[in-house]
């Protein structure tokens, strides 16, 4: 049993490495539009994976995650527009504001559990959206805030590699956090907070930590995304946006590491391929989520693994049977 798992793990590392290498050499064959789709997928991979840390691993069902991406973008965009600061300062501002706001929100919802937390974080993101829309004299509201691009050249190849590197680094950091004892603390909090507390897990500390951590990651992703699409509007804060992230994670598998990595690209690519169908897309995805929740709650990733495992096991049994009995 132990050995088979170790074997599977090595295969996973190998697969991850191959995918990264594949993505690194892919631009040679990809057009600008295809590159754009990959960039979009990578952005949503970061968002979905970091939201999964909150909802999937810690049981903090936050509905404010998209607002941190927007916050990162707006913090940098506003500073650059009004104070003409260099991009690096904008980047640092994005990190600091999302970190502080994440900590503040974490404090606010610390005592809340389950549904209360979902509603309170939702209230936070809605009030943030309304404030941005209402303060249109500064933020230009629905007209959109212009944000300078990161590179002078219009070629998306630079953004492509930037997002690829960003995704790899951030996923690696998240993976290491989850592998460390912190990952076990978070899972313990999700399973039974009271029991975790009784066993000496500092639940306050780790809940605050994960909220701040995930928010900062969303802020970094939002900063780069904002400077890629070069215009920011309150649409980025809408409930649809977090709905999309929830769909991606549930589709791939809530509380699994690979879940968001599969769910996000699948949903982004499907939406782009079937652009003409417009709203039918969302009808279809939300129906999928309902079916997944009703039937196989662990999501596509887990289903695929189980099928592979069974397949692997069958083969082994077959091999064992083929051996001539002494």
């Amino acid at each position: 049993m132990q050995k088979r798992w170790a074997h599977l793990k090595n295969a996973n590392y190998l697969l991850a490495g191959l995918i990264v290498i594949g993505l690194a050499i892919a631009p040679a064959w990809l057009g600008d539009y295809a590159k754009h789709i990959v960039i979009l997928s990578l952005y949503y991979v970061i968002m979905a994976a970091s939201w999964n840390l909150l909802a999937g691993y810690t049981g903090q069902f936050s509905l404010a995650h998209q607002s941190f991406a927007a916050l990162g973008g707006y913090a940098s965009g506003l500073l650059i527009l009004y104070f003409k600061v260099p991009l690096v300062v904008g980047f640092l501002a994005a990190i600091v504001t999302t970190m502080l706001t994440g900590y503040f929100l974490g404090r606010l919802v610390l005592k809340m559990r389950g549904i209360y937390l979902a509603v309170a974080t939702w209230a936070f993101s809605e009030s943030f959206r309304l404030t941005i829309a209402a303060a249109y004299t500064y933020t230009r509201g629905d007209q959109g805030l212009p944000v300078p691009p990161l590179f002078q050249s219009l070629n998306p190849i630079w953004y492509y590699y930037l997002f690829l590197a960003l995704t790899v680094v951030l996923l690696l950091v998240m993976y290491l956090v989850l592998k460390s004892p912190i990952g076990s603390f978070l899972r313990a909090i999700k399973d039974d907070e009271l029991a975790a507390m009784a066993l000496g897990v500092d639940t306050v500390k780790w809940k605050l930590f994960i909220m701040t951590f995930a928010s900062t990651i969303a802020g970094i992703a939002g900063f780069f995304y904002a400077h890629y699409i070069v215009i920011l509007s309150p649409v980025m804060l809408s409930f649809n946006e977090i709905g999309k992230i929830v769909i991606m994670v549930v589709f791939g598998g809530l509380g699994t590491f690979v879940g968001p990595l599969i769910g996000a690209p699948v949903i982004v690519i499907l939406s782009e391929l079937m652009r003409d169908l417009a709203e039918w897309n969302m009808v279809f995805y939300s129906l999928c989520v309902i079916v997944i929740m009703r039937t196989y709650r662990e999501g596509i990733a887990s289903l695929a693994r189980r099928v592979l495992e069974r397949f692997g096991m069958r083969r082994k049994i077959a091999l064992a049977n083929d051996k001539p009995t002494p």
Partner: protein, 298 residues
């Protein structure tokens, strides 16, 4: 703009009127929460369904003179939809031995909300529709009010009163209250809790549909018109405390007044922000809301 007592009175009346309509929405959410301990994120979509049914009935079948029949019709129809949705999507929370009910309830109703909203956009297009005006304007004191808005106010008051009677003076109402206090206890008394759940969900979404149908001529009919109704409903239940019926009514009136008076004294552009400021302040002082009870750990 100078502020005269008369103006103040007018805005207080306007605030009260909209507050009562908010209350209808909030009552549905809080009622469902009190029985099943779940939040229905698709509440606004039931409001939307109610307004669409009212529009369709008035335009194609009844004509503007019989608009009140349309309201009853849309309430009945959405009640039935609620029964079916609860049976198919919500009851597995309790029958299939699920571990993470909160997570399931939240994800499924968020998906349901996206599903209904986008399905309606596909089916009827994103156009804004109106069932027309039913009633001539009326004057309350010195405040001119559109007749439909006044009718919606009266209708909402009537429904809240009926809901109050149902809850306090009927056997079913007692069963609802008992279920909200102790789900196991009512079962030992021989009440079928699954039936109670189903009825509670259907009544809750029916109240939202009633709000949608009553407000169809005022706030118009389009696929995402439930979003603002959901926002107000959730604000109110956080302010009033989740699961508390008096909290929902008082919270709704408080919100209506805050918005109305805030737009006089401060700025009408920030109208939608006031509710959230009130909400964040309440959360900081008393995280369970004005009438909310402290949640028990585990």
């Amino acid at each position: 703009m100078t502020i005269t007592p008369e103006l103040l009175l007018n805005f207080t009346i306007a605030g009260l009127m909209i507050g009562v309509l908010y209350a209808l929405m909030a009552l549905g959410i809080t009622f469902i929460y009190s029985i099943m301990k779940m939040i229905n994120w698709a509440m606004g979509e039931f409001y939307m369904l109610g307004s669409y049914v009212q529009w369709a009935l008035v335009v194609f079948l009844l004509g503007a003179d019989y608009w009140f029949v349309g309201i009853i019709g849309s309430m009945i129809l959405v009640f039935v939809v609620g029964l079916i949705v609860q049976r198919v999507l919500i009851s597995p929370m309790f029958t299939s031995g699920m571990e993470r009910r909160d997570e399931y309830g939240t994800v499924v109703t968020i998906a349901l909300s996206l599903f209904l909203r986008n399905l309606m956009t596909v089916l009827s297009g994103p156009d804004t529709r109106t069932p027309g005006r039913f009633l001539p304007p009326v004057t309350l004191g010195t405040l001119p009010v559109s007749g439909d808005r006044f009718a919606a106010f009266v209708g909402a008051l009537l429904l809240i009163f009926l809901f109050y009677l149902l809850l306090n003076y009927t056997w079913v109402g007692m069963a609802f209250k008992a279920s909200s206090q102790n789900r196991v206890g009512v079962q030992t008394a021989g009440i079928n809790i699954l039936r109670i759940d189903q009825a509670a969900f259907a009544i809750g979404v029916m109240l939202a549909a009633a709000a949608g149908a009553l407000l169809a001529p005022v706030f118009l009919v389009y696929p995402s018109n439930g979003a603002i109704a959901t926002v107000k409903g959730f604000e109110i239940i956080i302010i009033g405390g989740m699961g508390s019926i008096p909290g929902a009514v008082l919270g709704a009136i408080a919100l209506g007044l805050t918005e109305s008076l805030g737009s006089v004294f401060i700025s009408s552009g920030l109208r939608d922000v006031f509710g959230f400021v009130l909400l964040i302040i309440i959360l900081l002082i008393k995280p369970t809301g004005l009438f909310g009870e402290r949640e028990r750990l585990s």
